[in-house]
């Protein structure tokens, strides 16, 4: 084909300039492929990390809550989940659910005696059911003691390995887990360091004042990921937590009382009516007190992440649970936004590079057009239509840019293959982005196809103006001096 032959040879004739432009396009292509692969890998790794460390695929929380659940909002605790048992049954019965763990955030004081002096150490914590929590969030690296007698896989430790100080083991290991970093802070600020197995008094602040509960330090741990936050977060087992904050209720109330209570919402008369109706006849002996969980959140992991939205709709629509659910990204606060911001930044940067390359490219093309004025005029004079001239320049552009894009893509492929062990990132960035460590780079064909389409489209756009200049050259210009 004449147009292709002309285009190819014209490129070869202006090798130096074309190689320069081609290198720019190749660089842009490289950046685009690598950038999109990087940003989508970062997005994926960030999501996986957030799900594995904070939120699961979703967090179930009380329908009464006006705030979104956030695993870091210790100063604005969510309302308790009232029907925790029913929600639990729902989750157990849902085939989509892989595993789940209830927890709550709170803060309190650890009181410890040193040399006859009592020291109050403030701490923030997650109250967790140790087994389920560990199964859902494999983020705890136990340095000393045990995670409430629970192994890494969520199973009970064999007898004798749980450390409780009084010789009890396994499931009976109750108390607090202290982060190693936090313990270091205690030493720095209070001159005190907690030891595994030692007796402490936990002080919980409630509306009615401070509750004190004798307890123990069951272990010292380091978080594996997101050290910037988990270094400050400690753990309390659910039973201890419930006792500390008096999360107790009464069971076996007569139905009549419940009905009366419900009716009493209506007005004052009804409340006074209650006294006659029920209370007087209560058989106090039949009542039992029951420990309530105090859980505010349930992190749920699904077998297939893709079903998350459907599952949320299902649980919110189920009568009697009185819960809402937030996707991982809504529940993770700014952590999910970080990777989204990074992705936006990479898109923007790549777009900017493309724009600059396109401008330089268009400029070079215009120089080519001007240099070839007489040649184009001659072609027009001896019978070539404008469309021929346009096709010639389009062919030149596409041949050059697609070849350059190919080079850029091969380069990107090579670099990404070399980085198959993960991209090393500065630790502070990595901590925020993916919870720490190297970023596993996952490239797929889509990143290449996307870039190729972008190069083709941008190439054509960049030729629009130069082509207009070229097609407006009249046959009269055949006579112009070269």
């Amino acid at each position: 084909m004449l147009v292709l032959r002309l285009a190819l040879r014209t490129i070869m004739r202006r090798k130096g300039r074309m190689v320069l432009i081609g290198s720019l396009v190749a660089f842009g292509t490289f950046l685009s492929v690598f950038g999109t692969a990087f940003s989508s890998s970062a997005g994926e790794a960030s999501r996986a990390s957030i799900i594995d460390n904070f939120t699961g695929d979703l967090i179930v929380y009380s329908a009464r809550s006006k705030e979104l659940p956030s695993p870091f909002a210790f100063n604005t605790p969510l309302p308790n989940i009232r029907n925790a048992d029913e929600v639990g049954r729902f989750l157990s019965a849902s085939p989509e659910v892989l595993t789940w763990a209830s927890f709550a955030q709170n803060y309190g004081l650890v009181q410890v005696e040193r040399d006859g002096r009592k020291v109050d150490l403030p701490f923030i914590f997650y109250a967790v059911e140790p087994g389920p929590y560990r199964k859902v969030f494999p983020n705890v690296d136990v340095k000393d003691g045990s995670f409430f007698g629970i192994r890494e896989d969520g199973a009970l430790s064999p007898p004798g390995t749980g450390v409780t100080g009084d010789g009890s083991t396994g499931d009976r290991a109750r108390g607090v887990m202290i982060s190693a970093f936090q313990n270091g802070q205690y030493l720095r600020n209070y001159g005190v360091q907690l030891r595994v197995g030692e007796r402490v008094t936990l002080l919980g602040i409630t509306e009615g004042g401070a509750n004190a509960l004798p307890s123990r330090v069951t272990g010292i741990f380091e978080p594996k990921h997101y050290k910037s936050v988990f270094n400050y977060i400690n753990f309390v087992d659910a039973a201890t937590y419930s006792e500390l904050y008096n999360y107790t209720g009464v069971t076996a109330l007569p139905e009549a009382l419940n009905a009366g209570l419900a009716a009493a919402q209506g007005g004052e008369d009804a409340i006074f009516g209650l006294a006659d109706a029920g209370i007087g006849e209560l058989d106090l002996g039949s009542l039992r007190s029951e420990a309530l969980s105090g859980f505010t959140m349930i992190a749920v992991k699904l077998k297939d992440h893709a079903t998350v939205d459907r599952f949320i709709a299902a649980i919110e629509a189920t009568d009697g649970l009185e819960v809402k659910a937030a996707r991982w990204d809504a529940a993770s606060g700014f952590y999910a936004s970080i990777s989204k911001a990074l992705q936006a930044f990479i898109w923007l940067a790549t777009g900017l590079v493309f724009l600059v390359v396109a401008l330089i490219f268009a400029n070079t093309l215009i120089i080519n057009v001007v240099e070839r004025t007489a040649e184009i005029g001659t072609m027009r004079a001896i019978g070539s239509d404008k469309s021929f001239v346009r096709n010639m320049f389009l062919a030149e552009t596409l041949i050059l840019n697609l070849a350059a894009a190919l080079v850029g893509m091969v380069a990107a492929g090579v670099v990404m293959a070399a980085l198959s062990g993960g991209v090393p990132l500065p630790e502070t960035i990595s901590q925020f982005l993916i919870g720490g460590g190297r970023l596993p780079l996952r490239a797929n064909a889509w990143h290449f196809v996307q870039t190729l389409v972008a190069v083709a489209v941008v190439s054509v756009l960049a030729t629009l103006y130069p082509v207009r200049v070229a097609t407006s050259i009249t046959p009269l210009k055949a006579m112009s001096e070269r």
Partner: protein, 230 residues
């Protein structure tokens, strides 16, 4: 019968505030098979006149008739088709496509839009390569040729579409006088052998002498005809 005719053609160019009148009412009629020179000093309007004949430019007023048809008001596309099918061009600076070799340059007008087969094209190209005596230069690029050789390629390229008229604007101006004469002789022999109409401009008296008819222009006007049969 005339193949191309100008009737009271005027052409003016605007140069800032001033208007240059390159042609001031030119009427000429050129017959099939003519070997015609347009003579006149530099700036007299020769090129402008040839551009009107070749549909390279359009007159400010007046009528241009090619092959019996008025080309006034035709679109760019239609004018391009006229140039492609009815007219051959030879330029002062040869104007070959630098990236194409001799064969490809001559083939170019046939590739732009003709429906000829490869075989038919080859036959035509080879015929004219031989006619201009460049059979041993087929694969050479323009920059590997002398000026005279380049103009021969241009002549073959102008002829290959079998046009009604071949226009040559000072085809010898960039050649030494001996080569220039030989180029005009080549054109003349082709004119005699296959009756192609040639119209060329020149301000060189030696070249003018080769023409069967000469139109003299001065200040954008035809000032006389001379040179009957040589």
């Amino acid at each position: 019968m005339s193949v191309v005719e100008l009737a009271d053609v005027r052409k003016s160019y605007k140069l800032g505030d001033t208007v240059v009148e390159a042609l001031r009412g030119v009427s000429v009629s050129i017959d099939k098979g003519e070997f015609l020179a347009i003579a006149g000093p530099s700036g007299s309007g020769k090129s402008t006149l040839l551009n009107m004949l070749g549909c390279i430019d359009v007159p400010s007023s007046g009528r241009v008739t090619i092959d019996g048809a008025d080309v006034g008001g035709l679109s760019d596309r239609e004018l391009t088709r006229y140039r492609r099918t009815k007219i051959g061009f030879i330029f002062q600076s040869f104007n070959l496509i630098p990236v194409l070799d001799v064969y490809e340059n001559i083939e170019f007008p046939l590739l732009v839009k003709s429906k000829l087969t490869r075989k038919e094209r080859e036959a035509l190209v080879m015929r004219f390569i031989e006619e201009v005596g460049l059979d041993d230069r087929i694969k050479n690029k323009p920059n590997e040729l002398s000026g005279g050789q380049r103009q021969r390629v241009a002549i073959a390229r102008a002829l290959v579409t079998r046009p009604l008229i071949v226009l040559a604007d000072e085809p010898t101006a960039n050649l030494d006088s001996g080569t220039g004469i030989r180029i005009v002789e080549l054109m003349r022999s082709i004119n005699e052998s296959d009756k192609t109409t040639f119209i060329f401009s020149t301000h060189d008296a030696h070249i003018m002498r080769e023409a069967k008819r000469v139109i003299n222009v001065l200040d954008g006007k035809v000032v006389g005809y001379d040179g009957a049969e040589v």
